[in-house]
Structure formats: structure tokens, C-alpha cells
């Protein structure tokens, strides 16, 4: 037994050492998560508007076009539970914070990152934003939450790390205020096709209550601190709107109306079928491109500043 245990430990020790070295190699590469974490610390004394949400705001809300200093802390596929985590993490560290922007689309009230095919992104929150504290005990111990290598496509990670370390090629896609530059200069995809595909994907998300609880928690905590919450339903092309499950759209509006009526600090900006957004403003049927982002950002900024929103 002694010999067996010695050999097992030796095997594990060698393997873990090599693994740790590889993990160190790939982990040091700056990415959008680590960059936003560092940038919000740099600008935290000035930030008055905190933008949360998923790709709708990541690509659609450019702080450059807001009248007040804004920071975009949205990420692709970020669901309301992660919005809540980020809000709770930073709300007391932003002394000038006045407004929180949360995109509410038909899928928002049911979608959860951890139950989707994008669940691997949780590791980014755990490693770069300290999300591990929010995990249940057994989940805290799960290896996959801490290892960058354990995520899929190891060869791509090594290639990225090599490019960064040898050629200083950055893989950060956001600007210093958190807006993603990925849609800069992109052309309009076939909107009818992308609209139908996206609507089909979003309509198959099962009903859940947790996202609604997370949204309510954000609003209540904001109210206690005298902060405004602006729920923005982002613009979408008609091909997406027409193929969505009607019930999901009605449910979304009903829930939003309930929240607006219940909480005096909450307002809703509905741009879902806004005619100001034309075909050239869209990257695909439910995401705006850089041109649409400028338009969307100015509209949100004006809404925040208008007397009605107080």
C-alpha cells in the first residue's frame, strides 16, 4: 500500500506541476473580463452610469455617447444572476453612481448562463471577478470553475497565449469604458435569416423564476441607495420580432409594467420596435452594429437625462 500511495502521489505531483505551469502560461493573457475589472477600478471615482446585461448592451451601449460618465459591464450571454453579482460587487465602490441600465429582452426573464451552452463562461467570472464566493459549497470545489485550460479548445488557448507573449497581440476587444469594438465596421447580415434563427433559439428557453428574482433584488438594492434603474428593451428587426413567441413578448411587457408600477425608481425605455432604427443599424436581427450603437447610446442617454426619467 505504501508503494502504491507513493507512486500515486508522485504521478499526481508531476502531473499537477506541469498542469500548473500550463495554466500559468494561458492565464496571464489579458481578456475582456480582466480588462474590465482593471478599468472599472481606474474610473470608479467618476462613473455615474453602470451598464449591465448581455451582448445587446455589450455591443449596443457605447459610454462615449453618454452625457454622464458611464461604464459598460455587460458581457456576451451574461444573465441576470451575473448582472446581480456585478451590481452587488461594485455598487458601493462607485461613489458617484446614479443610474443602472439593464437590458430586458424577451429571453432575459428566463435565460440563465449556467444552464446554457455558454456555461463555460462561468470560469471567467470565477477567476477574474471573484464569482467563486457566490457558488454553493460543492460547486466551489469543482475544478472546472478554476481552470482556464479545462475549458474547451486547449490548442486555441495556447495559440492565443503564444501570440500574446511572443508577439504582444492583444485579444481584448473592448475599449477602456467597456464597450465592445467587435461590431465596428461590420456589414449587415441577412436580417430575415438571422431573425428567424435567433427567435427560434430564444423561444425554446424554458420558463424560470430565478432571473426575475435577481432583477427584483437589483432594483430593491438600487432603491435603498437612491439609484435609478432603467430597463431598456433593445431594438430588434421585424424578422426577429415576428418570429418570437407572442406569449414571451407579452409576459416580458407585463413583468416590466409590474416593476415600473411597484418601484418608483424604475423606468422602462422600450425600443423593441422603434422606427428610428433602420436596417443599416443592425449587425443581425437582434444586435445593433457600431452605427446603431451610437444611436442607441444617445437615445438612452437622453432618456436618462430627461425630466420624465426622474
Amino acid at each position: 500500500m505504501k508503494q502504491f500511495l507513493i507512486r500515486v502521489f508522485a504521478f499526481l505531483a508531476i502531473g499537477l506541476t506541469v498542469f500548473a505551469a500550463a495554466e500559468y502560461f494561458v492565464r496571464g493573457v489579458p481578456n475582456d473580463y480582466s480588462f474590465k475589472r482593471s478599468q472599472i477600478e481606474i474610473h470608479r471615482e467618476q462613473i455615474e452610469i453602470l451598464i449591465l446585461g448581455s451582448s445587446h448592451t455589450l455591443f449596443g451601449a457605447n459610454p462615449e455617447y453618454f452625457e454622464a460618465p458611464a461604464f459598460n459591464f455587460a458581457f456576451t450571454s451574461q444573465s441576470l444572476d451575473y448582472d446581480r453579482f456585478i451590481f452587488e460587487k461594485y455598487v458601493d465602490r462607485l461613489p458617484k453612481l446614479r443610474t443602472v441600465i439593464i437590458p430586458i429582452a424577451p429571453l432575459s426573464l428566463n435565460y440563465m448562463l449556467d444552464d446554457s451552452i455558454e456555461a463555460w463562461r462561468r470560469q471567467r467570472y470565477v477567476h477574474y471577478l471573484g464569482y467563486w464566493r457566490a457558488l454553493p459549497l460543492l460547486e466551489k470545489l469543482q475544478f472546472k470553475n478554476y481552470s482556464t485550460l479545462y475549458q474547451s479548445d486547449i490548442s486555441n488557448q495556447f495559440r492565443t497565449a503564444w501570440q500574446y507573449r511572443r508577439k504582444s497581440r492583444s485579444h481584448v476587444t473592448i475599449n477602456e469604458m467597456g464597450w465592445s469594438r467587435s461590431m465596428e465596421g461590420t456589414s449587415v447580415l441577412e436580417l430575415s435569416v438571422t431573425g428567424e434563427q435567433a427567435a427560434e433559439r430564444h423561444s425554446s428557453i424554458p420558463q424560470r423564476e430565478q432571473p426575475k428574482r435577481d432583477l427584483a433584488a437589483i432594483i430593491e438594492q438600487a432603491e435603498r441607495r437612491g439609484l435609478k434603474v432603467v430597463m431598456v428593451t433593445p431594438p430588434a428587426w421585424e424578422s426577429y420580432r415576428n418570429h418570437l413567441n407572442e406569449l414571451s413578448i407579452l409576459t416580458m411587457y407585463r413583468h416590466i409594467d409590474n416593476l415600473v408600477n411597484q418601484y418608483p425608481n424604475v423606468r422602462h425605455l422600450d425600443l423593441f420596435a422603434d422606427s428610428r432604427f433602420v436596417k443599416e443599424d443592425f449587425f443581425d436581427a437582434d444586435h445593433v452594429n457600431h452605427r446603431g450603437a451610437e444611436k442607441l447610446s444617445r437615445i438612452i442617454s437622453a432618456f436618462i437625462s430627461s425630466p420624465y426619467s426622474h
Binding site: Q3, V8, F11, G15, V18, K144, S152, D153, I154, S155
Partner: protein, 473 residues
């Protein structure tokens, strides 16, 4: 807890440590630890179903004691009948109740009557098909006076619930497993190494083969009416590898864990891809189940009047029931019957022409034919229904059979080829490749490099994996 989860790693490490801290002479204490650990393992799945495994165990323990004393044939039959009623009753209710109700409704409606019956929402307890058959084999062997009754309740309960094989087999025989719980177990370095090697092999099969094949197989079955014939053919073959990787992977992990606890579990798969005919396939595939049905269904049937007159019917009944064991649906029974027909056809051809399905001089050709026929039969197993399976096979034979498969990533084949090479060296031990690998394996750096390579492969596969297919049985 699945075997490659963090919870199981912690559980197994704790159980292993405590187990071997107990002095070897005190194997009864070790049995008690196994029992507690096994019931804890099962409770982790669903604590509500602990009662079922307890009922099955206590019934057969008591029946066993009484069978040890009973001499009269009638009383002995009554006792076995009690065991059969309890175990098959549990299995029948939890697994087949809705199937029977729906079949009755269908049968009556075919005769023009509307039967008012309701199905129930019944959760299938994990492993029930395995442990009920395991305890039944004990009482049936006792009835036949092949073994002596077990008086030690802890040893018996540990035999029934031994956690490595509890939820997905192998279905152990009392004559193999029970004596091991009545003797001292010794830990040796060789057993430890073999145990870990088997466990790693099982992980390789499950994660790198089964889970890699699964998405493509799902895609093919979801689109069987639109994809090309070559895609359908590939999907059928890949499902064979998927279910082999899944099930034999689990069995290997179970055997590996057993070895770490000083227990030898039976081999459940013996390189089925090298079968040269349908009969041989069933000597290599799910050996514990096929031998169970041979010994407790087929052989008794052949001793009945009907069985003596119509042995082929006995074989078909056995295969049909074997298919039904896999799932409460007509397609599983059909799957079993098709296998039965193939075995009968092989035997018939062998009787008439001397070669059966093994027509050709070259084993490779016979293997390819058997693999192809078996893959086609697996379509019934995988398809949502028998009608879908028929539709799948109907679309299989067209000119697009010779086109390139759609949306196929050839990297899926790499672990499959590695597995086949490894199994070839096990099948043909005197082959040049086999001798070369055996020679290389004597060097620790080579062995460790292989283990690390497998672990890197497992890591590279990344995040979530699929549930074991056989957990649903």
C-alpha cells in the same frame, strides 16, 4: 454521483482510506463499511429508493435462509416464487407499469374497445434492473442447489449493493462475488495499478469515445429524413461505438474500483468489435446480462415441453425479453428479436453449410459484416421509436451512400482508432504490435506518458459530458 465527479472522488478516496485502515482480518468490518458506503452512494442518487434495494435484499436474504432448510419441492418453489414476485414486481411496477397500461389500451382499441386506464408519473429508480437481477440469480442458484445460503446479513447486503456495480452492472453472480465478501482481501501494488489503469481506460472510453460520438449521432437521428445515406451509415456505426464506450467504459471503471477494494468483478465486455458472427457477439457484449438470460430464461425454457419441441421459439423469447429489459418500449423488444433472428439465421446457415455468417476466410471480412449488421440493429435501440428506426433504415440505401458524410469531424475517429489498436493487441496477444506494446509497457516512463496523454485528452475534451446511457435502464 457519477464516477468522474468531484463528489465521487472525495467519497471514493474516503471509503478507500477507511477501508484499508481496517485490519485485513476484520473483513466483516470492511463489509459493513462497504454496505454503509454503498447505501450512501445510492442515497445520493435518490434517498427515497433506498427502501427498494432494502426490500429486495431482505426478501432474498430471508428466502435464501429458508431455501437452505427447505427440502420439499413445493415449498422451495413457493419460496422462489416469493423472490420472483417481489423483485419482478418492483421492476415491473417502476419500469413497465406505464408500458403495460399503454399496450393494453392499444390492444383493446384494436379490438374496438375503449379501455379506461391511467398511466402514472413514475420515476425509474437508478440501477433497479441490475440489482433485482443480481439478487434473483442468488435465489435461483440456491433453488438449484448450486450454492449455499448466505447467513451473514452484512455480507449479503454488501454483495447486493456494492457501489461500483450497483447502478449499471456488471450483474454479478453470487458464486463469484459473495465468496469474496467472506474472505480476507489483500491489497497489492499490482491490483492497485490494475485498478487505476482500468479506471482510466473506462474514462477514456466514456469521455473520449462515447461523449465525442454523441453529438454527431444525435444530429443524424434528428435529421434522418434529410441527410445522406453515408451520413446515416456513419451515424449507425458511431452509435455502436458510443454505446460501447459508454457502457463498457462504466464497466471498466466499476471493475477498476472493485480492484482497489480487493474485489474482482466479472468482465462484462470482451472486445465485441472482433466478433465474427452474431452468436459470438453475444459472448462478448454485456456478458453478465446475456449469460443471465441464458442460464435463467433460455435453459429453463428449453427444458419445458414447448421448449423441447420448439427451441428456436425459446431463443426468440429470450432475446425478446432481453430487449425488453433495456426499456419499456416495443422498439427494445424488436431490437432484441432482431438479434435473436440473426443468431438463429447464423446457426441455421452453420448447420446447413458449415460456416454460418463466417463465410469468409479472412476474419477481417467477417468482423466487418458482423459490425455492419450489428450497427444496423442498433438503430432500433437509438431511434425514438420503431417507426423512426424503420424510416432511418429505409433512407439508408441510396446512391448517396457513396458520398462524403455531412458535417463530420474526422477527429472523432482518432480515439476510436486508438481504442481499436489497443483492443487488437488484447485480442491477438501474439501479434507483433501486441508484443511491441507489451514490451514498451514494461517501462514506467512509457506507461506514465500514456496515462498523462490520456488525461490531457480528457482535459482537452473540456466541459460537460453526457449521462451514462445505461443509467436509464
Amino acid at each position: 454521483m457519477i464516477f468522474y465527479s468531484l463528489e465521487f472522488a472525495l467519497f471514493a478516496a474516503l471509503a478507500f482510506g477507511l477501508y484499508w485502515l481496517i485490519p485485513q482480518k476484520q473483513f466483516r468490518v470492511q463489509n459493513l463499511l462497504i454496505l454503509i458506503a454503498s447505501y450512501g452512494f445510492y442515497a445520493w442518487w435518490d434517498w427515497r429508493f433506498l427502501a427498494l434495494i432494502f426490500i429486495s435484499s431482505i426478501t432474498d436474504y430471508l428466502v435464501g435462509l429458508l431455501l437452505g432448510r427447505a427440502q420439499g419441492i413445493t415449498f422451495r418453489r413457493v419460496l422462489v416464487g416469493i423472490s420472483l414476485v417481489v423483485n419482478l414486481g418492483l421492476l415491473g411496477f417502476f419500469k413497465y407499469y406505464n408500458f403495460f397500461v399503454e399496450s393494453l389500451i392499444l390492444a383493446f382499441s384494436g379490438l374496438g374497445f375503449e379501455l379506461q386506464a391511467r398511466t402514472l408519473y413514475i420515476i425509474l429508480p437508478v440501477g433497479i434492473s441490475f440489482y433485482t437481477f443480481q439478487t434473483l440469480s442468488y435465489t435461483l442458484d440456491l433453488y438449484r442447489r448450486k450454492i449455499e445460503p448466505e447467513r451473514d446479513p452484512i455480507a449479503f447486503f454488501a454483495y447486493v449493493s456494492f457501489f461500483p456495480q450497483l447502478v449499471a452492472g456488471p450483474i454479478e453472480r453470487a458464486s463469484n462475488l459473495l465468496p469474496q465478501f467472506k474472505a480476507e482481501r489483500r491489497f497489492t501494488l499490482e491490483k492497485g495499478k490494475e485498478g487505476l489503469q482500468l479506471f482510466l481506460l473506462g474514462l477514456f472510453k466514456k469521455i473520449l469515445i462515447a461523449d465525442n460520438c454523441a453529438p454527431y449521432v444525435d444530429f443524424v437521428h434528428a435529421n434522418y429524413d434529410t441527410v445522406s445515406s453515408s451520413t446515416l451509415a456513419l451515424g449507425a456505426v458511431l452509435f455502436f461505438f458510443q454505446i460501447y464506450g459508454d457502457f463498457s467504459g462504466y464497466s471498466d471503471m466499476a471493475r477498476g474500483l472493485g480492484k482497489l477494494f480487493g474485489i474482482e468483478l466479472m468482465q462484462n465486455f470482451r472486445r465485441p468489435f472482433f466478433a465474427q458472427n452474431p452468436s459470438e457477439l453475444w459472448q462478448r457484449w454485456h456478458i453478465s446480462l446475456s449469460s443471465w438470460f441464458r442460464d435463467y430464461v433460455f435453459m429453463p425454457l428449453t427444458r419445458t415441453r414447448l421448449g423441447r419441441k420448439m427451441p428456436r421459439v425459446s431463443l426468440l423469447i429470450t432475446f425478446g425479453l432481453s430487449g425488453l429489459w433495456h426499456g419499456a418500449a416495443a422498439k427494445f423488444m424488436l431490437w432484441g428479436l432482431i438479434h435473436g433472428v440473426k443468431v438463429l439465421a447464423h446457426r441455421g446457415l452453420k448447420k446447413s453449410f458449415g460456416t454460418g455468417f463466417s463465410f469468409f476466410r479472412y476474419p477481417a471480412v467477417n468482423i466487418a459484416i458482423t459490425l455492419s449488421l450489428t450497427s444496423l440493429t442498433w438503430v432500433f435501440f437509438r431511434a425514438p421509436s420503431a417507426a423512426d428506426a424503420v424510416g432511418y433504415l429505409a433512407n439508408l440505401f441510396s446512391m448517396s451512400l457513396f458520398s462524403a458524410p455531412e458535417k463530420f469531424q474526422y477527429s472523432i475517429l482518432i480515439p476510436i482508432l486508438i481504442l481499436l489498436c489497443y483492443e487488437y493487441t488484447q485480442e491477438v496477444r501474439n501479434s507483433r504490435l501486441g508484443r511491441a506494446i507489451s514490451m514498451a509497457a514494461t517501462y514506467r516512463p512509457v506507461r506514465w506518458a500514456t496515462y498523462y496523454a490520456v488525461l490531457v485528452g480528457l482535459l482537452a475534451t473540456g466541459t460537460d459530458t453526457n449521462q451514462f446511457i445505461y443509467f436509464q435502464f
